[in-house]
């Protein structure tokens, strides 16, 4: 057992008769480097750790956390969690989980190699990225930020009901944000590459994406308002799927906040949509051997050929809904309790790449980025309205760049009006994979 498990075990061993205790103990080490104008702007290297304790007593739950592994702070958290439980409402479905018969898949999410790279090498990677972006196009006036970052994290979850899981993963990325200027006009664009260690990063792709995305918007103006076909770039699809994840939460269904409540086995999306959540896919950023409550991860079919097949559940929501957990407990860190969430949504790809999809669109717009998702998308009502920028599509070809417009529809309609999914799956660092998506009947508001 490693140190974190020993700490967790000490906590759960303090359970009194009739009391259930879960200890989540986490440690991570992060490096973060930002360069600007061929010099380091900031460099940070730090470790942090903490513990989150859940206590359930007489079907009442309490929680407390501490941002340290200091024994006195842990004692404080345990006594606060106990005290907090005494104020909660009794709920017969509350209770920690116990092991089921799924076996954990052996996923390789940790690279020993990451620790072997000196900080200087990481700095060089960021400096090199900035230089690459600047050299790609003379209209790139500056790179607002070029970053390198990595994190190695270890965690353990133990309960006195038999759950016992540990997690270990590394993650590394580079990202650049380019500023293109032409005739007094400024446009920006970003590019990045992610992996589990330095050798998995692709600086060429990060640099060319940043340059291409900024420069191709030069000359952009507002499009005329109209209903048209929209082609979402993979990154935009990722954002859309991350919102849809909320509708597919079993907890939201139970609490009357899901558009899909009561629609099992119905056609909720176009026939080209087949969606699974599969955190056992090691390519996914959200892959993990166990969920946040310690259940072995598994793949869950959510929508098949447009038909709603299932929802995501953690221990509590599964028990309340009378189904089995889908091992979909997620947590934001040691300072929050687990809740239901997707980790690796994956849309079954189609046959065409993005250029081929473009040739099939007569009048539309390629949306390369969206803004205002928090303020403009309501996953409960389904209202969808976001800022967008991209390129017009005319008679099967990319046309002039457009910006400062919105695209609007509803989540329900968007799902029904998907006419094609691309084959360009991109494992973006999010809870969903990106892929090009063609959606009809979207209101574009510009001039």
């Amino acid at each position: 057992m490693d140190d974190l498990e020993i700490i967790a075990e000490k906590i759960v061993n303090q359970a009194k008769p009739g009391e259930q205790i879960e200890a989540f103990v986490a440690w991570d080490e992060e490096t973060s480097i930002r360069v600007y104008n061929a010099a380091i702007e900031n460099l940070s290297k730090s470790q942090s750790s903490g513990v989150g304790i859940r206590v359930i007593n007489n079907h009442r739950q309490g929680f407390a956390w501490a941002g340290t592994l200091d024994p006195a702070a842990i004692d404080f958290a345990l006594s606060e969690a106990r005290d907090n439980a005494s104020f909660a409402t009794e709920d017969e479905y509350l209770g920690l989980g116990s092991p089921d018969n799924f076996s954990p898949k052996n996923l390789d999410l940790w690279r020993d190699e990451l620790a072997s790279h000196p900080t200087e090498e990481k700095v060089t990677l960021a400096l090199d990225l900035e230089a690459r972006v600047k050299n790609l196009d003379k209209r790139i006036k500056s790179v607002e930020s070029a970053n390198y970052g990595d994190v190695s994290s270890i965690a353990a979850v133990l309960t006195n009901t038999g759950m016992h899981a540990n997690y270990r993963q590394t993650f590394s990325f580079i990202a650049a944000h380019a500023i293109a200027v032409d005739n007094d006009e400024t446009q920006t664009g970003g590019g990045y590459s992610v992996g589990r260690t330095l050798s998995e990063l692709d600086p060429d792709k990060a640099a060319s994406d940043a340059s291409m995305r900024a420069t191709r918007l030069l000359g952009a103006s507002k499009p005329a308002s109209a209903k048209m076909t929209v082609l979402f770039d993979p990154q935009v699809t990722t954002t859309l799927l991350a919102i849809i994840a909320g509708i597919l939460s079993g907890e939201m269904v139970l609490k009357g906040r899901s558009l899909f409540a009561g629609r099992m086995d119905e056609q909720v999306a176009s026939g080209v949509i087949s969606l699974v959540d599969d955190p056992t896919n090691p390519s996914a950023f959200g892959a993990s051997i166990y969920d946040a409550e310690g259940y072995p991860s598994r793949s869950t079919s959510l929508i098949t050929n447009g038909v709603l097949q299932g929802f995501l559940y953690d221990t509590y929501s599964a028990r309340r809904a009378g189904v089995s957990t889908t091992a979909s407990a997620v947590r934001g860190g040691f300072s929050s309790t687990p809740g239901v969430g997707a980790r690796a949504l994956f849309l079954s790809p189609g046959l065409k790449n993005q250029p081929e999809l473009i040739t099939s669109i007569d009048n539309g717009v390629l949306v390369q980025s969206i803004s205002g998702v928090h303020s403009g998308v309501n996953p409960i009502s389904g209202d969808f309205s976001v800022g967008a920028e991209g390129l017009l599509i005319r008679s099967g070809s990319l046309g002039r760049p457009v910006k400062e417009f919105t695209i609007a529809s509803s989540l329900q309609r968007i799902l029904q009006e998907v006419v094609a999914v691309g084959n360009d799956v991109d494992w973006i660092p999010s809870i969903a994979a990106g892929v090009s998506l063609v959606v009809e009947g979207i209101s574009v508001s510009g001039t």
Binding site: T89, Q187, E389, F405
Partner: protein, 463 residues
Amino acid sequence: MISPEVIHKVLASAVSRGGEFAEIFIEDKQSSSASFDDGKVEELSSGISKGAGIRVVVGDTTGFAHTADLSEPGLLAAAEAARSVALSADSNARPIVLDSAVSYRLPDEILIPSSIGKREKIELLEHMNQVARSSSGSIKQVSAGFGDSYRKILVANTDGIFATDEQVRTRISVSVVAFGDTGMQTGYETAAFTMGYEMFNEIDIEELAKLASERAVRKLSARPAPSGTLPVVLKGGSGGILFHEACGHGLEADHIIKDSSVYKGKIGELVASPLITLVDDGTVGKQWGSAQIDDEGKPSQRNVLIKDGVLTDYMWDGLRARKSNRSSSGNGRRQSYQHLPMVRMTNTYLLEGDEKPETIIENTKHGVYVARLGGGQVNTATGDFVFGMTEAYLIENGEITEPLRDANLIGNGPEVLKNIDAVADDFSITPGTCGKDGQSVPVGCGQATVRITGVTIGGTANG
């Protein structure tokens, strides 16, 4: 928290390999929250976090490290990590003189969170749940949340600053779901202040619950928002998000220094309608973005950014001020000891004008009245920004008529600021959370009712 001798030693170590500036920021924060959802007290949570962030500035480079180990060896280890960016071994050790401590204490009237029983806090939530549900039969779900924090900070740096402050913040919110023939709709209200539990002597939680419910119920009969450009009247209060996004972020000195703001080089120029005087003010009352000092130890101040439409100044933190040879404007803030400070807004607001809000509406023939905004986002380099309406109505022939479904509005900062043709006298401030570069800080946004002559509304109905 930590003795001045140890602080001195840590700062000396931080600059021992060179560097013109070093700082230690110590934070000790206790927070608690309670949530009521689905008819139940769902969760009470308590947390503690304590640690130090140390930074060393060498030329254009900042080295940073943080630690939860506040022992002398722990702090010295963090200082060593932070100074790793300083490559020269020569110590140009200049003496560090820490000013006699400037300590800010909590005002006497503050009721600190731990002095109030948990039961009492839960009762507030239960009450809001009850009020929200009983206000309409269409309300099918209610969640309510309470949160408070008690944060003690110490900032010391090689420029001699040695300051401590205590900050207490309290917030409450309610979120409802209404159900009808047209599906589900939501309503949300919140109150948040840099105050303790005495905040509940000043706010009306029943009112919050009713407002949230009414908003959701009204939207059940809402029609889709128009698609296209129309005049927009923004009600006083949450409309301050417009200014936060349209120019606030663009006036942060870090964006200016990096050429990533449309407002660069515009000091002294007319950047907005002459009706616009915009202020960022960390000292205003007990608003959500207020504090006695910023997270670099600089006392908060009131900064006029735009006066009668003319750009007068940007917002500055210590690092950017140093580069530009001026003093900080008290806008150096950070989410926690684990983060580097950067230029952030506090409470950003538009000074009120002298028109009556009713007159502005009456004088608008056809447009949209936005009673509540939900949030927004801006690209400071291009000035393009969005902000979302969560309660809005059509204006037809000078009268507020039908409710509209939620949508975003999109515009370009400098253009929208010039297109404001009316400012009323009904000023108020609303709390919000501002995200930048992965860090969240509490802010206030304020304005009186204003009219924009034309802005693009991102709905689905033909305008």
